[in-house]
Amino acid sequence: MESVVAIGIGVLVASGVYLLLRARTFPVVLGLTLLSYATNLFIFVMGRLAAGAPPIVSTAASRYTDPLPQALVLTAIVIGFGMTAFCVVLAFRARAALGSDHVDGRTDGASTTSEAP
């Protein structure tokens, strides 16, 4: 099970990083989203994997999973939304100001090898 989880998070990180390195804003935002998923899962599994043992105190339960990473990740998920929104808004403004959604502000039609002026 551990290897399945590790591979899963690794795949998410790899996809996220590749998209993060793209030249246009939208794929970068998608990459950030994937990286956020990966990071949240990473922090979450630091509390180990315990299926069927939710951290809700009851007399019937004999064991609980670690609640602390869950609390950390819960706020991280919401803040991740705030971050994504901020990036999206920046992307709008950048496109409106530069006429292009290239992360380096390169105008469309310019060759990919030339430097931005």
Binding site: V17, N40, T65, P67, R95
Partner: protein, 929 residues
């Protein structure tokens, strides 16, 4: 006693602004204000003076940072008293002089403010008993002298001179700090009076040489000793009153003051003797020789100052009690004659419009009175009998001749003294002869005449003191010199005589030879070398400094150009690569050691993994078709939801599914304005590079996760599980952690959210949108009827659900975050069904205000616990039975959760509604009936 010591230092610093205010009422008023500010500490010092002269040492001490050994401790010993008198006395004369010297359009208030700041810093240096405090004031002198030298900040040479002085003396100050820290470490205290007493321990410590080197670097940079001398001539770009102040009694004297202060602690070794003596002797001779070839009047005085500082340094280096007395004496004498000479040079510059000695000739006819004053001061500088300069020069010669260290120094030092003395006389003669005689003026901008009456007064006072000290030293300077020298030496004062006539002796013979030689040198240079026709710029050290500076700047530019090419894409790649390197390093250093696998993979998990793999690969592969990629990333999010649900995290699953919904809406809105497709523009090599980085990062994280998961596990969470019910009255431990145990973290996090939302609001303020991308078909029916009907049913239901989720959050999965997100989704649905204009006219909620109220509610809940004498965010709880709802877990934490709820609703709505408005703006006009 203690307050008066503090007043001496703090009055000029605190009152530094007064002249600026006073300058609005005129120049004279500003000058009087500055003079009054300087006079009051001088009066205090005068009142304390007899006490100090009688051998007492007033002290004052306040705790400041005791942990760092930094106390505000002040101490007025004899040496400090001498400097206080010099700093304030000459400062007063400078103020009077500057009032006449500065032009009408110079900001005189600002000038006096700088002078006061500088005087305060100098007073701090000389009065500080704590070595760290001394360094603090030392740096203040560097900073305030920077302001003074660069006073005419529209002139490039002034700016350059100020920068250079700051760089050199500031660097020296850092060395001094390091030296003081080491010395304090060895002595076990930073109090100078204690350090001095533990001199033996410092001299025997293995750290002695580093301490000595660092402290001497501080002193030599400040006192412009070779090879750090070059900043001083550059500082001549300052107004002449500044030069007269900084280079006679204050700034450069801080360096030799430091030598005097550390003399009992650091002297008495070969390292001290050879280093200090050599540097002093080289500076003495080199600067005297250079001074002779300067054509600029102030340049001559600048190099002469360096030379005299070399002489004082040399005297400290000789390391005999008498030489130290002579050094202190020469500090006084040099201050008196050099201040008057600079002022005289300023008068000449002021009244003729030139400082060039090739033009200034024969001024005796035009300004005989000034000429007399200047020539008396120059004679003192040359060491003519019956003037103060003669006395200390005789002492210097005698000490040089009596040197008993053996070896070549016994020859070299008297030789250096003789040559230095001879050159000193040569340039003094040049100052007198070349300016006031030697033919007629050549092409002066103005016809020379005597200056205003009061401009001469400071010069008269100083020249009179040169004479008084020269004629009757015992009755004028002796008491002050005694206490100052005793404070310098630390223990015991040698018998010394200040008699004018010692009979025919070797020093007198040397003096006479030097005088004859010096006069001969000057006149033969004029006659045979044609002095005026040669320009020497001995700025080798300055050009080395410039080269170093230019080289640094060029190197920085090369690095910047290589690294910072303006491409964010490249920066991100660097960040990823750097993170990779940092992440790999521990694996390499301590090996990769995962433990055994403990749980077997279930088929469900494998299916989940395959789904995740397919969805993320799909996002990457389809990323140029943006809508498809977005759908794929949504699938990834849903897999995460399932993951959380499977691994016993119901709260996370709920949160993730709600955030997933709003994120998809957000990104769909984003696609509204952004191109629908990404052009293919990455080169194959870039794709390969990125893929390599991505695979390495993914592989690294996977390896890390695997290693962590398979190793032993200890958690601090047992505390939360055990105390959740008993202390916080909640069964849902995740929610209890969020709103109670770690409520302060959550408070910070909702503030972050609020800031992000307000940031988005600010970025979009006044933004009308870039127009949507019309390269794909849009639905004709903007607000479908089905959706509207469904919404009217769903909306109340969803709001009810969100209330239910909110209320039960403390005991079962739910809480403010999730409830807030659900409410947000419900309201967004309303917008989607009816349009922004329709909804906004009915739902009059200011979302910024909602966010603010949310944060305030959460904060107020925390503060409320103060009323009960509890720490911030302490909660109380109970389980009241409410009609219809049954038993409800009611805790004060719920009010906090309400704050969280409001903030989250506000953030979601502010972001989405604001973005929605952008799309609605043109459409609303089009569909208006």
């Amino acid at each position: 006693m203690a307050p008066s010591l503090a007043a001496i230092v703090s009055l000029p610093l605190i009152a530094a602004y007064l002249p600026v205010a006073a300058a609005r009422k005129g120049r004279v008023f500003a000058a009087w204000t500055a003079a009054a500010v300087l006079a009051s500490p001088l009066a205090i010092a005068a009142a304390l003076g007899p006490h100090v002269l009688a051998g007492n040492v007033p002290e004052a001490r306040w705790m400041w940072l005791p942990g760092a050994g930094l106390d505000l401790s002040l101490r007025l010993d004899g040496l400090a008293l001498l400097f206080v008198v010099l700093i304030l006395g000459i400062g007063l004369l400078i103020v009077l002089y500057a009032a006449y010297y500065l032009a009408e359009d110079d900001a005189i208030g600002r000038f006096f403010a700088y002078v006061l700041l500088f005087a305060g810093a100098m007073l701090g240096v000389v009065l500080a008993d704590n070595a760290l405090l001394l360094v603090v004031f030392w740096e203040l002198t560097s900073l305030s002298s920077f302001l003074l030298i660069g006073f005419w900040n529209d002139r490039s040479d002034a700016r350059r001179g100020a920068r250079m002085a700051l760089a050199i003396t500031g660097a020296g100050g850092l060395c001094l700090l390091a030296g003081v820290l080491l010395a304090g470490h060895v002595a076990g205290t930073y109090e100078l009076s204690q350090i001095v007493r533990r001199g033996a321990a410092i001299r025997e410590s293995p750290l002695y040489v580093p301490i000595l080197t660092l402290v001497l670097l501080g002193a030599f940079t400040k006192s412009a000793q070779v090879p750090f001398h070059f900043w001083l001539p550059q500082a001549m770009a300052a107004p002449t009153p500044v030069s007269a102040y900084l280079h006679s009694a204050t700034m450069v004297k801080a360096g030799v003051f430091l030598l005097a202060r550390f003399y009992p602690a650091l002297s008495g070794t070969d390292a001290w003797f050879y280093t200090v003596t050599t540097v002093g002797a080289v500076t003495l001779v080199f600067a005297a020789g250079t001074a002779l070839f300067q054509h600029d009047l102030k340049g001559l005085l600048a190099y002469s100052t360096i030379s005299h500082l070399g002489l004082i340094t040399l005297l400290f280096g000789l390391d005999t009690p008498l030489s130290a007395v002579a050094a202190v004496f020469h500090i006084i004498n040099h201050a008196l004659f050099k201040a008057s000479l600079f002022m005289a040079a300023g008068i000449i510059d002021h009244e003729t419009g030139s400082r060039d000695m090739r033009k200034l000739n024969g001024l005796w006819k035009y300004m005989p009175y000034t000429a007399t004053l200047a020539m008396v001061a120059a004679s003192s500088m040359a060491g003519v009998p019956l003037l103060n300069g003669f006395l200390s020069k005789e002492m210097f010669f005698s000490e040089a001749l009596l040197l008993e260290r053996g070896g070549w120094m016994e020859v070299a030092i008297p030789l250096a003294a003789g040559i230095g003395g001879m050159l000193g006389i040569a340039y003094s003669v040049r100052f007198a002869h070349d300016v006031f005689f030697n033919g007629e003026p050549v092409g002066l901008p103005r016809t020379p005449h005597e200056p205003p009456r009061w401009m001469k007064v400071p010069v008269e006072v100083l020249v009179a003191m040169c004479l008084l000290v020269g004629v009757a030293p015992v009755y004028t300077v002796r008491p002050l010199l005694d206490v100052a020298a005793r404070a310098t030496l630390g223990d015991g004062l040698p018998a010394y005589s200040l008699a004018i006539w010692h009979g025919f002796s070797l020093p007198l013979l040397m003096s006479m030879l030097a005088t004859v030689g010096g006069i001969a040198i000057y006149f033969s240079l004029q006659r045979f070398y044609r002095l005026h026709e040669h320009v020497h710029s001995p700025l080798t050290a300055a050009s080395a400094y410039d080269a170093l500076l230019d080289g640094t700047i060029r190197f920085a530019a090369i690095v910047t150009r290589a690294v910072e090419n303006g491409s964010l894409q490249r920066y991100v790649a660097w960040v990823v690569a750097a993170a990779l390197a940092l992440g790999v390093a521990p694996f390499v250093a301590s090996g990769y050691a995962p433990g055994p696998t403990t749980t077997a993979a279930t088929p469900v998990a494998v299916v989940g993994l395959l789904l995740l793999f397919a969805a993320s690969a799909g996002t990457v592969v389809l990323h140029r078709e943006r809508l498809a990629a977005l759908v794929m990333s949504g699938v990834v999010g849903l897999v995460c939801v399932l993951f959380f649900a499977y691994f016993a995290a119901p709260d996370l699953a709920l949160t993730q599914v709600a955030v997933e919904a709003v994120t998809i809406m957000l990104l769909l809105l984003a696609l509204h304005y952004l191109p629908q497709r990404t052009p293919a523009e990455s080169s194959v090599s870039r794709k390969l590079r990125d893929a390599a980085l991505a695979v390495a990062a993914g592989g690294g994280v996977a390896a890390l996760v695997y290693a962590v998961l398979t190793r032993p596990f200890e958690s601090i969470s047992d505390f939360y599980l055990e105390n959740s019910v008993s202390q916080a009255g909640g069964r849902n431990v995740v929610n209890v952690i969020l709103v109670d145990f770690r409520g302060f973290d959550t408070f910070g996090e909702i503030i972050v959210l609020a800031i992000a939302a307000l940031g988005i609001h600010a970025v979009l303020a006044g933004f009308a949108g870039a127009g949507r991308d019309d390269d794909r078909a849009w639905a004709a029916d903007r607000h479908p009827l089905m959706l509207r009907v469904l919404t009217s049913v769903l909306l109340p239901l969803m709001l009810l659900v969100s209330i239910y989720i909110f209320l039960r959050g403390h005991d079962r999965p739910g809480g403010g975050f999730i409830a807030g997100l659900v409410t947000g989704i419900a309201l967004i649905l309303l917008y989607a069904a009816h349009g922004v204009a329709w909804t906004a006219s009915r739902l009059r909620v200011d979302y910024q205000r909602t966010i603010g109220i949310g944060v305030l509610v959460a904060g107020a809940t925390g503060i409320a616990s103060w009323w009960f004498g509890q720490p911030f965010l302490t909660s109380a709880f109970g389980h009241p039975h409410l009609p219809l709802l049954g038993e409800v877990p009611l805790a004060s934490a719920m009010a906090f959760d309400l704050g969280v709820y409001l903030t989250v609703v506000g953030v979601v709505m502010l972001v989405l509604a604001r973005l929605g408005e952008l799309s609605a703006a043109p459409a609303a006009n089009a569909s208006a009936p």
